[in-house]
Amino acid sequence: MQIIKVENLKKHYDYYQKDQGLKNSLKNVIKRKKLVKEAVNEISFNVEAGEIVGFIGPNGAGKTTTLKVLSGILFPTSGIATVGGFTPWERKKAFKMGFSIVMGQKTQLNWDLPAVESFNLNKCIYEVDDAQYRKTVEELTELLEVKPLLKTQVRRLSLGERMKMELIAALIHEPKIIFLDEPTIGLDFVSQKIIRDFIRRYNEETGATILLTSHYMNDIESLCKRAIIINEGHIAFDGNLADIERDENTTIEEAITKLYENKEAKAE
């Protein structure tokens, strides 16, 4: 069953440019030249229920924008998308109850309080019953090895520990669809591995569909069979990682970089 369907999705932003110097700042006060950034340009893809799909691309390729549109955070410029049967940007409650998004660069935890307070808040927001909540927190804290840290204020946690807490907070309501935007960014390799193993296990045990972006090829290779490579708002490749053309001497990173370049050449 296709749980995520994306058809000709487009997201353009208006912005304006400012040349160097005060003179140009003053000029901009009077008149601004409007420019359009094509963050996502007519992309289409589908994701089967239970799949883990890696979303790869250089900075500014449109990965995060796509995830934000699929989460209902942003309205697209045009195109169609359904996630779990809902149009995300209608922001229906039933849609929000069934998915989760974790952004490596943003936090949903209360900085000054122990993470367990944020979990409890999510329990209330997502209407999770007591027994289910206790079971989920117990299991997840054990798996991610953060049980002794439940009473420590989030601001005192290391980046890796905080990220694990972010994951738990996002999974309190057992979402069927999970968007992970660079969940391992800036983490040491031990933490990266723990989080990776956790994501794999969670997918196997719950059958949740996961769309993952990461700049670490280790994450992608060990978790995803399928990858979607996006560059400058276009899809450059969609298929099995194993099918990316490369010879014995080329690393997967080099092969992917080549795909980016091909796309750029085509665009020109």
Partner: protein, 270 residues
């Protein structure tokens, strides 16, 4: 209907947690909490000084006796406690929450985004001295006057205080929502926020034109003047109707504006 009721209960539960978490959070920084209370005490003293001067000079402001003015000041202090405790920090932080893209993670939560964005923090240090000071001021002036207000007047007084607070919420939310269109709006927000202090004295100290302006066009006087006027039976039926209608009208208009505003949200940070 049943579903709406269930949602209201859920939001009240979430609000209880917001309030609890805010208190725990503020108690983490003890010094800041205590300094907040002390600073607010000095603000309270300046307000009480007005009442004191009015008494010493036996001034009759716009036909009000010094005790009536004191009761007005007490009401304004209570409203300040409600406003600063429940709304001020939340509204003040909207522009940066929008600019920093913090709204992202609020939009995905299955609760009202407006509620989440504008009610998530409760401030404790500032309202504590104001609630105590306000109640004492009202009680003292009430007993000095020997005020025999009927049940209807007291009900109207309390209702208009609550609706005054709701009006303040909607009114001060408007400039914050403009942040969805113009990103940085500090100058505008500061100007509008200073309008709050127009309530520190009864509106009778202003001319007729200013009074009409402050009741009908920019309804700041409705916030603190109307409850006291209702108590003294100074509120004509027309003004009473206006005092009931305008907070509701503004509240629902702001709700509409909020929904338009979040459609424009363009997020930030990648």
């Amino acid at each position: 209907m049943k579903a709406t009721f269930k949602e209201i209960i859920k939001h009240l539960r979430v609000y209880r947690l917001f309030a609890k978490n805010s208190l725990m959070q503020q108690l983490e920084y003890r010094a800041n909490f205590i300094i907040g209370i002390i600073t607010e005490c000095t603000w309270l003293c300046t307000k009480l000084l007005y009442a004191f001067i009015v008494h010493r000079t036996d001034s009759h402001v716009g036909g009000l006796t010094p005790d009536q003015v004191t009761l007005f000041v007490g009401t304004f202090i209570i409203l300040t406690a409600i406003y600063t405790g429940i709304f001020m920090n939340n509204l003040g932080s909207i522009p940066w929450r929008v600019r920093q893209g913090e709204l992202d993670l609020m939009l995905v939560k299955p609760i009202s985004t407006q509620f989440h964005l504008t009610m998530r923090e409760v401030e404790y240090a500032i309202p504590i001295p104001n609630i105590i000071g306000g109640i004492i001021t009202i009680a003292v002036s009430w007993s000095r006057m020997g005020l025999q207000a009927g049940f209807v007047n007291i009900t109207a007084y309390i209702y208009l205080i609550i609706s005054g607070a709701a009006l303040a919420y909607s009114f001060f939310l408007i400039p914050c929502l403009l942040t969805f269109w113009i990103v940085k709006i500090r100058a505008l927000v500061e100007i509008v926020y200073n309008l709050w202090d127009f309530n520190s004295m009864p509106m009778q100290i202003y001319g007729k034109f200013m009074q009409r302006l402050g009741i009908f066009l920019v309804p700041v006087f409705v916030i603190a003047n109307f409850p006291v006027m209702a108590l003294f039976e100074n509120l004509s039926p027309l003004l009473l109707a206006w005092g009931v209608v305008v907070p509701l009208l503004l509240f629902f208009s702001v709700r509409k504006l909020f929904n338009i505003a979040i459609k424009r949200y363009s997020s930030a940070g990648g």
